[in-house]
């Protein structure tokens, strides 16, 4: 169970991540380093300092692989979903109002209580993409009952959900709608990658239409590997997420986007 925690050296954070983040520039809009000219990217990265690095994606620049037929498969193209980076580069997301909601009046040392409250009522979004959705439902049904921890009811509308459980393969056609869903959820919100396909592409590493890990398009808090993981795995991951919420981590304006899994996997 890998817990992506915004680069502060933590559980499951691959060591390659931070090094490659140094290697990748501010990448003006946080774009992936192109495989065609990795050297230039490195140079610009070394000159760049400051908070931009926090929001730069972690992408291992391609120095090994060249497309056999660039006409057919054009690697090295950047993500066109970069608005999250641009938002992260601004300070707009760092305002604590989102964290406070209507309780702006309470002094800041009541924060821990709020986090306890949130950790105990995590409403998932009822959105299943593929196979793992069945196991997600199974985790909510009678045999292993997620409701015991308050991870119920599954909200149908993203406006009322706290956790986005991405259950199943994310394809390039679905990436846009899913990011839109993620943006429609109000702060504070968390994202759980359920299953190998969402963690790293899984068995669709070689596919021409699958996203190689959803952390290329949205920040992820908890990774739950498995194809598909058992319902107990999902429940364990949600409990890990609760711990992560208690530790006052996981606010996406402070998280960078980009694969936190080394690309070699």
């Amino acid at each position: 169970m890998a817990v992506g925690d915004r680069g502060t050296a933590g559980a499951g954070r691959p060591a390659g991540g931070s090094a490659s983040r140094q290697a990748t520039g501010p990448g003006a809009t946080g774009r992936a380093a192109s495989g065609n000219a990795p050297a230039r990217k490195r140079a610009s990265a070394l000159t760049a300092r400051g908070p931009a690095n926090l929001t730069a994606p972690v992408v291992v620049p391609n120095t090994l692989w060249q497309a056999e037929n660039p006409l057919a498969y054009d690697g090295g193209q950047p993500a066109d979903i970069t608005h999250l980076h641009e938002f992260g580069l601004t300070d707009a997301g760092r305002v604590d109002a989102a964290r406070w909601g209507a309780l702006q009046v309470i002094p800041a040392n009541a924060d821990y209580i709020l986090d306890l409250i949130r950790a105990n009522s995590l409403w998932p979004l009822l959105s299943g993409l593929a196979c793992c959705a069945i196991e997600m439902m199974s985790a909510a049904t009678s045999k292993n009952d997620m409701d015991r921890w308050g991870m119920f009811p599954f909200r149908a509308s993203p406006r009322q959900a706290d956790v986005l459980i991405v259950a199943g393969t994310l394809t390039t056609k679905m990436a846009g709608p899913l990011v839109r869903l993620w943006e429609q959820m109000p702060e504070p919100k968390w994202c759980v990658a359920l299953g190998d396909c969402t963690v790293s592409g899984g068995r669709y590493k070689r596919s021409y239409s699958a996203v190689q890990g959803i952390d290329r398009v949205m920040p992820v808090d908890v990774y739950i590997p498995g194809c598909p993981p058992r319902p107990e795995g999902l429940i364990y991951g949600m409990l890990q997420l609760g711990q992560l919420v208690k530790d006052r981590r996981g606010h996406w304006s402070e998280r960078e986007i980009g694969p936190t899994v080394p690309d070699g996997i």
Partner: protein
């Protein structure tokens, strides 16, 4: 200027938590003392006239007090109902339900509420912000204001209108306004469909709902809910559910539709229109809708109990007199009751501790023994006081009966939600206009005829 304006904030930001608290204390202690002094002076000077004023228009004071109490009690009621629904539906689904937060997960609904309260509060792009913001308030207030006329117990009611029932239906009809505002203002087709559905549904179910009550009004010659309850006092057979069974059935069905509960929950049909009128609502705005739904359930159940099941009246004549053979519990006064309670607690502890020690053997050390005895005494004493009060005070007895009847209907609603699927819109309308309306008219006709014949 601006620097000087910002200076205090900078100082405040530079302080540590302890310094901030100390500073607050330094500022507040004189403030509190001065306030107390001024209040004392004020009471000494203005006291009599204020008391005269209050005594002069007592109903006004009573109204304000009742309104405040109702506003304060609404949200806890919603919390209780939400927890009830979570648990009961879970058990009906062969699940456990929330059991981690609080004893048996009893705090879960409160946690949900607080979490919703602390979510980011924003209005999406494209919405009509004013209407979008007002809609939840309208819905919530419309359902809360109906609580004003419900008699919880003899003497415990917000206001006793002689048109209480009319007022109730008028306020209940205001709910649809909020839902319609929500559906229209939030820039979303699902919301629009939900809002229009709720409008059509509530408007068409208002009619059988109102007509089914007219029979009761004919029988009692009053629209004041207190009067209706008083007319049912006596034995269980004075309840109107026996005199007006058809009306009771129609009222229950129409009330289910009025409260947007399954199988009539067209407005937030999850599998059709995502969350209905509340699709675009987040944070506390959604929380208002959430609470309003459950307050509606409570109100509808309370009205069912009031109109047809005798309200706060006991199902049978209470055997004992309200005063225990001449002993008037009011005569002791506060001091007397306090002394009694203290003596009971101390004495009970003294009596129980050795018994527990004997029973527990060596496994109990002294302190835990005493604490155990104290706890047992408290429990027994509270039970005894409750029983005494139940026997002695009529309002407590009425409250207990009223709540029992109300929660019976609440659990019936939850049961229906766990069991029944949702019916289609056209079936909904057809049912309202083809079956409920003629049935209620028939009931009205039969009742009127019977009254005329019997009075002659």
């Amino acid at each position: 200027m601006s620097q000087a304006f910002r200076l205090p904030f900078r100082i405040w930001a530079s302080l540590t938590i302890r310094d901030r608290l100390g500073l607050l204390a330094l500022v507040m202690i004189p403030g509190v003392l001065g306030g107390a002094f001024v209040t004392a002076i004020g009471i000494a000077v203005l006291g009599p006239s204020v008391l005269d004023f209050l005594a002069a228009n007592l109903p006004l004071v009573r109204f304000f007090v009742a309104a405040t109490a109702i506003l304060l009690l609404t949200v806890p009621t919603a919390f209780v109902l939400i927890y009830l629904e979570l648990k009961v539906i879970a058990r009906m689904n062969l699940r456990v339900g929330p059991n981690r937060v609080g004893p048996l997960g009893a705090a879960m609904s409160v946690i949900h509420g607080l979490k919703v309260l602390s979510k980011e509060d924003f209005s999406p792009s494209g919405v009509d912000v004013t209407v979008f913001t007002l809609a939840p308030v309208v819905t919530f207030l419309a359902s809360v204001m109906t609580l004003l006329v419900i008699p919880f117990a003899p003497g415990i009611y917000g206001q006793d209108f002689n048109i209480g029932l009319l007022y109730f239906f008028a306020m209940g009809g205001l709910t649809v306004l909020g839902l319609l505002m929500a559906g229209w203002s939030s820039f979303n087709k699902y919301s629009l469909l939900g809002g229009l559905r709720s409008a059509a549904q509530i408007v068409s179910y208002e009619i059988p709902l109102t007509l089914s009550v007219v029979g009761v009004i004919i029988l009692t010659n009053t629209m004041s809910l207190n009067g209706i309850v008083a007319a049912q006092s006596g034995s269980i057979f004075d309840w109107f559910v026996f005199k007006q069974p058809l009306a009771a059935l129609i009222f229950f069905i129409a009330a289910t539709a009025e409260a947007n509960r399954t199988p009539f929950d067209m407005t937030e049909a999850d599998s059709e229109i995502v969350a209905g009128f509340a699709t675009e609502y987040s944070g506390m705005r959604f929380g208002f809708f959430f609470f309003a739904e459950y307050v509606n359930v409570f109100i509808v159940s309370a009205l069912c109990a009031t109109l047809f099941f005798g309200g706060w009246t006991a199902p049978f004549n209470w055997p004992w007199p309200a005063t225990l053979n001449g002993f008037d519990p009011y005569s002791l006064g506060v001091l007397g009751w306090t002394a009694i309670v203290l003596v009971l607690i101390v004495g009970g502890t003294e009596v129980l501790a050795p018994l527990i020690r004997l029973a527990g053997g060596r496994s109990w050390d002294m302190s835990s023994t005493i604490w155990m005895a104290f706890a047992v005494t408290i429990v027994i004493g509270l039970g005894a006081l409750g029983a005494l009060g139940f026997v002695a005070f009529g309002w407590l007895r009425g409250l207990v009966w009223f709540m029992a009847k109300t929660y019976f209907f609440v659990i019936t609603f939850v049961w229906m939600r766990a069991t029944l699927p949702r019916i289609r819109v056209d079936q909904l309308m057809g049912f309202a206009w083809k079956w409920l309306l003629p049935a209620s008219l028939l009931n009205l006709f039969v009742t009127a005829t019977a009254v005329i014949i019997l009075n002659r």
